[in-house]
Symmetry: C2
Subunit: 384 residues, 2 copies
């Protein structure tokens, strides 16, 4: 049946009808006063969402483009950086940093485990000459469903005093509390097709004062992603290059919805849905890939033992028209991932769990009484 | 009155209803087989539109991002390049090239005049050591309404034999005939909010075999705009990073419309509308900024003498809800620009001219019998 597709992947995430329709409006000129008003409203709401008084700059790019901007604007070739690697995205930022000539030291953990803040601490504390210029960390590692302890890693960065912290918050912003000013995070990048509840196409970079200081001496060549012109234009409610006007309409509508819901409600909803997903998966007798204490509130990875992950995805799609994500790289075929961020409700999670129970039953998964998953999720909802 | 706005600017251009509604569909996963089919269709139609058998790669970026990719993938710091400068965009590519460490020689013409192909020829013919690595040319200079003689410049490039030709075709593709394979153009960049009839947010780069050869030795650092992964993914009907799914829906719909109309009809429509605009402007006694022989078929710039350009724009917007573009940089306040590319019909042009006549009449422009502009445009239409 057409038009019944349900996205439970960690991006793109479902988009509210009001956002979809906002995007279907005729574009207007991006240099018009009307569009200037939209930019002004959006930029103000982005600061609210990022819990910062500093700049939040909007780029026409995917999340990877935003992370590239987050790295190249503040560093120079040869700079020493620490890069947290415990999943596909951490690996990508290390690879990207090397592409721009940075001297990368990987601080690694097994995929499915969180990064050890003390490993950063040891390197940072030993860096008495202050040669480390930046620590690059993925907050919520989408590929594994692991949440890294950004706050603890950041404390070591703050003790170091000199180096910047650059954060991939692609599946954090709008889903998981990341108080940028309170934690003094220097650069935080994200993308639109996640917690923002809008389609892909926009990248965001929050830049704090210490990062702007570093910008002055950074020499990696740049033009399209040079953030200074974005900052200068934002101060005039404008953009240096043509913005994706219809996506900006969508962003405006989505940010209005988020303000109406409120940050604490948004974070509580993601936490509740995550707990429900995890309790349901446990009740169904499926192993969770990430431990409870390092669980992302954006995506839950499951590593089934008695059934094949790809067969679960296949039945979920064919019979119930629900898209789950597969594993990436070495996790391909080993895990499946339930995305639950952005425009996701308790009902969506129940729906997904009920369909997953039916799927597991069909695939002959043993030791599961049908209903236990939904019951476990229900208990979480009734407690919150 | 809300909802009556009419865009007659050179981007963003009006978007057909079918494209707007296609964009309002729920996103699907970009790694799904369904989206793979969309990518396959779109890529095939992009090759048709670009009149090429080579790769046409789609980036999540504005046109400037596409031009950056067109430059940095094929050159190395210190490389000598010639850059055509006769407007804001030519100047931008020179500035961008310098930002990436290229040794730029500007081949300039006055704003409003076209580049002299022989000026390129003299430099290329004198380059017996073959030190020139690329010639960077803006085909249709949006800031002045000037069409540069790309075919003639390219002939000198082909005589040189070694250097690449890199073309900004942002307001050419889908509006002006630019036969990429026939002319052996190496790299051609464009953006979605122009002839493509979709909102901004997508950039396109057509890359020929000689450019791919140059790619192998090019050393400007890159990651997000590294085109090799885009090519590799395109061969598998995929993308290296999350594409802007809803804009891709729009692109799919727009390309279907373009195929239905046919390339020769599209080009003839743009040429007809351009001639109508220019004849009407002449009949109204307003000076055209670009000479007939170098007129872009995307935008017509007018340099009024008896009335102020900004007052024309203001009345056009307030009374008739038609957006015209102003002048940029040193042309600010001196010219106004009528955009007529993409989803533009004879009727749109007549509407714009009629409103312009009324505006000029209101502003006290002398020596104009109301009706002469519409009459002149009508004559053009009846002749074609």
């Amino acid at each position: 049946m057409d038009g019944k597709h349900m996205l439970m992947i960690p991006g793109p995430t479902p988009v509210p009808e009001g956002v979809l329709l906002a995007q279907a409006k005729h574009p207007i000129g991006h240099r018009s006063s009307e569009f200037g008003e939209l930019i002004s409203e959006v930029n103000s709401n982005l600061k609210w969402l990022h819990q910062t008084e500093s700049d939040v700059l909007t780029l026409t790019a995917s999340g990877t483009g935003a992370m590239e901007a987050a790295i190249i604007n503040f560093l120079s070739p040869g700079d020493r950086v620490l890069c947290g690697c415990n999943g596909k995205f951490g690996d990508r930022w290390a690879e990207m940093s090397e592409a721009f000539g940075l001297q990368v030291e990987r601080v690694s953990a097994e995929w499915g485990q969180s990064l050890d803040p003390d490993a950063f601490g040891a390197l940072l504390d030993a860096d008495t000459n202050r040669t480390i210029k930046a620590v690059i960390v993925t907050h919520s590692e989408t590929s594994t469903g692991v949440l890294n302890d950004l706050e603890a890693i950041n404390r070591y960065v703050k003790n170091h005093g000199r180096c910047l912290i650059i954060v991939d918050a692609v599946t954090s912003v709008g889903a998981i509390d990341i108080p940028i000013d309170e934690w003094e995070l220097d650069v935080v990048a994200s993308g639109s097709q996640k917690g923002y509840m809008i389609p892909p196409g926009l990248g965001f970079v929050a830049v704090g004062p210490k990062a702007w200081d570093a910008y002055k001496t950074a020499t990696i060549p740049k033009f399209y992603f040079d953030l200074a012109p974005y900052r200068k234009s934002a101060a005039k409610d404008s953009t240096p290059f043509t913005p994706p006007i219809n996506l900006m309409y969508g962003l405006q509508a989505a940010l209005q919805m988020m303000r109406a819901e409120g940050l604490s409600n948004i974070f509580a909803r993601h936490e509740r849905v995550t707990r429900a997903a995890r309790e349901a998966v446990k009740a169904m007798g499926l192993p969770l890939f990430a431990p409870d204490e390092a669980a992302s509130r954006a995506v839950t990875a499951v590593e089934p033992a008695t059934v094949e992950a790809e067969r679960v995805r296949s039945v979920m799609k064919k019979q119930f028209d629900i898209a789950l994500a597969g594993g990436q790289n070495q996790l391909k075929g080993r895990i499946f991932r339930i995305g639950h961020l952005g425009f996701v409700s308790d009902r969506d999670l129940l729906t997904c769990i009920a369909a997953l129970e039916a799927t597991l039953h069909e695939l002959g998964h043993e030791n599961m009484t049908p209903g236990v998953g939904v019951a476990a999720a229900t208990r979480v909802f009734s407690m919150s």
